[in-house]
């Protein structure tokens, strides 16, 4: 037998082709409806092409066809785990366009409800990551904490998920009786659950092996990609819209911006855990003294009159009719306003021609930038690393695909 035949004989050489697999769009390990076209060398990922868009509903086109106030329900459906923040961001952009100054009470309530939804957003993200990593009981712990806030938000807005709570120049509902006491009870309860989950994971060897050093991104890359929120902060950049460009009443509260160092999955987990604690701090301060006064701007051009006036005076009736059928007319111009969403900077770029519909209503979704980097981050990792990496990016289909 010839000793070199194994090498020379083409038929006997083992083939090492790259294996192409398609992960998703609907797959239990995918954190949302997205498709990934992956080339594998063994278990190592050589290249990854991310294909989002399965939830595209034409948000911008619909906005251009609707009146300014009618857009609120659409914004609810962007990031559907923190709809109040979307409401706030959109309302802020229109108010900036109109030059409206919202009353202190509404600003204060916007902070309280934003922080509650930020907590639900982070809890949902962590819950989903843990579940995808196999820790299903952790999912239940987090969701138990989330439920506290869903109940509170339901008491204010009447809905569990799609709140549509804000209006241009104010809000639709004031807080009900007993809201403050109930919220105060939820805070220690959340802390207790966080302590439990912290004990379960932060020093858990099985968890650490999956996340430490996995999916790291450098600071300069994160900035160049336009990443914001927990992902940017996990690389060590203390950028938070609430501090950098304070809106609503955020300048009145004390809180810190937690930052990481390595920008890996573990740092993202830690930043989110720490941010929940900071949100609880803001809530504690905000619930102490809610300013009185009107909830909405008293300007007949922007907000509806009292029901009493609608039914008893002709001016009130006409005002109500005009706003319902013709809506507001912001001045001609363009603005960009941003709020800190659960995933980062949630911006709205609006163009008005003075009419009752926007000419252009662009939403800058915070998870778009990290998603565009996911393919690059994943390269070189093992197939199983997709789960923590993709989970910690926290892609929200409604917001990503709009």
């Amino acid at each position: 037998m010839n000793g070199t035949s194994l090498v020379n004989n083409q038929e006997n050489v083992l083939e090492t082709d790259l294996l192409e697999i398609t992960l998703g769009p609907s797959h239990p390990a995918m954190h949302g409806i997205t498709q990934m076209l992956i080339k594998l060398d063994g278990e190592k990922i050589v290249s990854c092409d991310v294909e989002p868009g399965y939830l595209h509903r034409g948000f911008e086109k619909e906005c251009e066809d609707h009146r300014w106030n009618q857009i609120f329900p659409y914004t609810d459906r962007l990031n559907y785990v923190s709809p109040i923040i979307n409401n706030v961001a959109y309302a802020m952009a229109v108010e900036k366009l109109c030059g409206l100054e919202v009353p202190a009470r509404c600003q204060h309530l916007r902070v309280i409800l934003s922080e509650m939804t930020r907590i639900t957003d982070h809890l949902t993200c962590l819950a989903a990551v843990m579940m995808e990593l196999g820790a299903f009981s952790a999912f239940l712990y987090f969701v138990k904490a989330r439920e506290l806030y869903y109940d509170l938000l339901e008491n204010v807005t009447g809905a569990r998920l799609t709140y549509s709570w804000l209006r241009i120049g104010g809000a639709r509902w004031d807080i009900p009786d007993g809201f403050v006491e109930q919220s105060k009870k939820a805070i220690p309860e959340t802390r207790r659950i966080l302590k439990e989950t912290d004990g379960l994971f932060t020093k858990n060897r099985i968890f650490l092996d999956r996340v430490v050093g996995v999916g790291a991104i450098s600071q300069s890359d994160a900035i160049s990609y336009g990443m914001t929120g927990p992902i940017l902060r996990s690389t060590g950049v203390a950028y938070d819209v609430r501090k950098a460009n304070p809106y609503a009443a955020y300048d009145q509260f004390e809180f810190e911006i937690p930052v990481g160092r390595n920008g890996d999955c573990f740092d993202r987990y830690m930043v989110r855990m720490a941010e929940i604690e900071q949100s609880l701090r803001i809530l504690e301060q905000a619930l102490v003294k809610i300013p009185g006064g009107p909830l909405s701007v008293k300007d007949p051009r922007f907000t509806l009159p009292d029901k009493q006036a609608v039914y008893t005076t002709i001016e009130g009736t006409i005002n109500h009719f005009k706003l319902i059928f013709d809506d507001i007319h912001p001045p001609k111009g363009e603005v960009y306003a941003a709020a800190e969403g659960g995933n980062g900077e949630l911006g709205f770029y609006l163009v008005s021609d003075g009419g009752n519909k926007p000419v252009k209503c662009r939403c800058r979704p915070p998870c778009f930038a990290p998603m565009s980097a996911v393919g690059k981050i994943i390269e070189g990792h093992m197939l199983a690393d997709i789960v923590p990496i993709y989970g910690s990016v926290n892609m929200i289909g409604g917001e990503m695909d709009r």
Partner: protein, 185 residues
């Protein structure tokens, strides 16, 4: 902070800056599209606007006399002091193309892809303008004002079906050419 940058832009690119404003203190400069890449390079490398925020387009069909139809709008932020700036450029209907900013900021990649599929704007030098949120068979540019909001597109045959198996990519209508509008409504 950004005001100085706008003044600096006017000085450095005197011929290229067409209009500036700071409506509601959003500092904005509209530049000629030929100067898009030089202006962006200046902002990135000399003025220090290192953070990518947003890129989008707008369609002003029939709204503004004497100005080209499309506008590309880019938002940037400076990490150092938090200054923000908006740069825009107008593109004519006959040739809606502009230089890509992908080489300066990595975030431009996907946002330009989205802009391309939604408005049909060609980003020169981008190299990968496949549809991002839409699908390959989608015909037309949905965010253009002349794309009717109620238009329906035909269903794509299921993978593995006879129609799909025998259709080759070159048989399909090229992206951007509208077929007759049968299902409009």
């Amino acid at each position: 902070m950004s005001m100085e940058t706008i003044d600096l832009l006017k000085e450095r690119f005197a011929d290229a800056v067409e209009e500036t404003h700071n409506f509601r203190s959003d500092h904005t400069a509209r530049v000629k599209r030929e100067a898009w890449l030089p202006v962006a390079t200046f902002l990135r490398n000399e003025a220090g606007f290192d953070m990518w925020i947003d890129l989008t387009a707008a369609d002003y069909q029939g709204r503004e006399e004497g100005l080209p139809r499309f506008e590309v709008i880019c938002h940037l932020r400076r990490m150092k002091d938090g200054a923000r700036i908006r740069i825009k450029a107008r593109l004519p209907e006959s040739d809606p193309s502009i230089d890509t900013l992908k080489t300066l900021w990595k975030g431009a990649d996907w946002m330009e892809r989205e802009c391309h599929e939604m408005y049909g704007i060609d980003f020169k030098g981008h190299g990968d303008q496949r549809p991002l949120l839409l699908y390959a068979e989608f015909v037309g540019f949905p965010l253009r004002k002349d794309y009717p909001i109620g238009r329906r597109q035909p269903r794509i045959p299921l993978l593995g079906s006879e129609e799909r198996r025998f259709s080759r990519p070159e048989d399909e209508t090229p992206h951007g050419h509208l077929p007759e509008d049968k299902n409009n409504g």
